[in-house]
């Protein structure tokens, strides 16, 4: 029998290896270019005024995004206050009560679909059911829309994290006569706390950068958000609005806001990575 030359095999091996390395580098490179670009274009806008002043009318020099920072923080806070408890409780249901049940399967499937819904559709949905009857924009409705994006993410991570805890831990807690709800909160949550916290941080990072759900809900304002139940200034909508303006100072402010949002998301992601590696 004539032996096949190993040459083709080796060449193909080399080609596949090189292609995958190039693809991997491309991923990192694109990220680095984005970070570099936003950093150098945005850094000029960021100064003392940027954090301490509200927005100014178009054409008026100076001004910052203090109101938008506050608005984004408040909207994210409200959405977290709704999304975290609901998401975690749903995760507890899936892992501890509804495991292997038909209802649990239906919920899990629905959550997967929910995660795939484009965020603008969630925005339009809240616009039609709440903003139209209300007659004006509202930061709260924006927060509701964001919490809807948050819930399936937190539910999934909570379920995954709780499922990682061994049944022997559940059994030994229950065997001491500890009621199930208490076992879940004081034993399971405690033993998976770093994973749960990571999930929450990543979900917060995810929604704090969302724009589409806010276009129709929180909308946009250049004033201090006294009342979250009105149009509420926020960073992502500031980027969206300012980037298209003819005034250089406004475009620069948009870059500054972009840098701020990106930095915050990056920071949250890094913190969550840190918790994962140094957890417990």
């Amino acid at each position: 029998m004539k032996k096949r030359s190993p040459l083709t095999r080796l060449v193909i091996d080399k080609i596949i290896k090189s292609l995958s390395i190039i693809a991997a580098i491309a991923g990192i490179l694109i990220l680095l270019i984005i970070i570099k670009d936003i950093f150098f274009k945005g850094i000029n806008a960021i100064g003392f005024d940027f954090f301490t002043n509200n927005m100014r009318p178009p054409g008026v020099a100076g001004g910052g995004v203090k109101n938008a920072i506050y608005g984004t923080l408040m909207i994210t806070l409200v959405s977290t206050l709704i999304g975290v408890p609901v998401g975690m409780m749903a995760g507890v249901y899936l892992s501890e009560y509804g495991r292997n049940t038909r209802f649990g399967k239906i919920i899990r499937f629905s959550l997967n679909i929910m995660m795939g819904i484009p965020s603008i559709i969630i925005g339009i949905f809240f616009f039609s059911i709440m903003i139209i009857p209300l007659g004006h924009g509202s930061g709260y409705v924006g927060a509701f829309a964001l919490s809807v994006i948050m819930i399936p993410i937190i539910t999934k991570t909570t379920e995954e994290m709780l499922k990682l805890t061994p049944d022997s831990l559940r059994e030994s807690a229950l065997a001491l006569g500890i009621p199930k709800w208490k076992m879940i909160i004081s034993i399971l949550f405690r033993s998976s706390k770093s994973g749960l916290l990571t999930g929450i941080l990543l979900a917060v990072a995810r929604v704090s950068g969302e724009t589409a759900p806010l276009i129709f809900t929180a909308r946009y304002s250049q004033y201090w958000p006294d009342d979250l139940n009105r149009e509420t200034a926020n960073l992502t909508m500031t980027i969206y609005n300012y980037a298209g303006q003819p005034f250089d100072s406004m475009v620069e402010t948009a870059w500054g806001a972009a840098l701020l949002v990106m930095g915050a998301v990056l920071l949250l992601t890094i913190i969550s990575r840190f918790i994962v590696s140094h957890g417990n």
Binding site: N100, S172, A173, L174, A175, L176, G177, I178, S186
Partner: protein, 304 residues
Amino acid sequence: MGTKVKIMNIDSGNSKSLQEDEIKMEKTDDLDKLKIRLPDKDSSEDLDHQQENKDVKIKVEDLDFYYDDFQALYKNNLEIYSRKVSAIIGPSGCGKSTHLRVYNRIYELYRNQAAKGKVFLDGKNILDKSMDLMDLRRRVGMIFQKPTPFPMSVFDNVAYGLKLHYSLNRSQLEAKVEESLKLSALWDEVKDDLDKSANSLSGGQQQRLCIARAIALEPEVLLMDEPTSAIDPVATAKIEELIEQLKGQYTIVIVTHNMQQAARVSDYTAFFFKGYIVEFGKTDKMFTNPQKKKTEEYITGRFG
């Protein structure tokens, strides 16, 4: 086909011998009441034992157990005597642990598991829906195969269940934790690091911590599901010593793979095979003169 017939034989033999046991028990009860001492048909040295054994802590009647459609236990009948160590032995997958896990209804954590029959604890059927599970599990503690410290300090591991079941002030709590750790022979090793995470203890220490945690609640029965199979021989020896010390106060049921262990620590032994209780009796008798062929084959190492 052949094995099936064998099982049937074992079953019928088993139920017969257990009935005999029961009748014998009732007899001795009556005799005690009448204060007449008649020589037992067994040797006279057994008589003392049987008199102190007359209180049955747990009585299992016709217990069947299912994992979904798979039946794991068939018509188990067993009596666990108060303040004695009863060992459950048998080859892997024979239903030893399954049987034990009915005594505190811990199997209910899993939706696909179900028990049918009656298990009386001091005359009350624990499989009744009306049974208070929290109270049952306070009275019937359990030690598992792998040590499972809670993700908290050594002190809190013991204090956690205590605080839940009893209202104690700080000094009472501390005293009780110390007492439990002393009883489980762990105190000297951990007294200086009670605030340390329980996960930092060694496997053997963790298992003794789990025992301390269980006995702190002052249970009446202690179930041990292969408590030494995951730890080293030195730690095993310590735990066996501990069982010896505890048996004056607690009714202990221990599932073990290790026949030497069963012979060392137990007063009574039940031999399980394929979900049936083949033989139950005094440990020394069982290991020297087993009544059933299957038991003899198992304890002499011909299978299992």
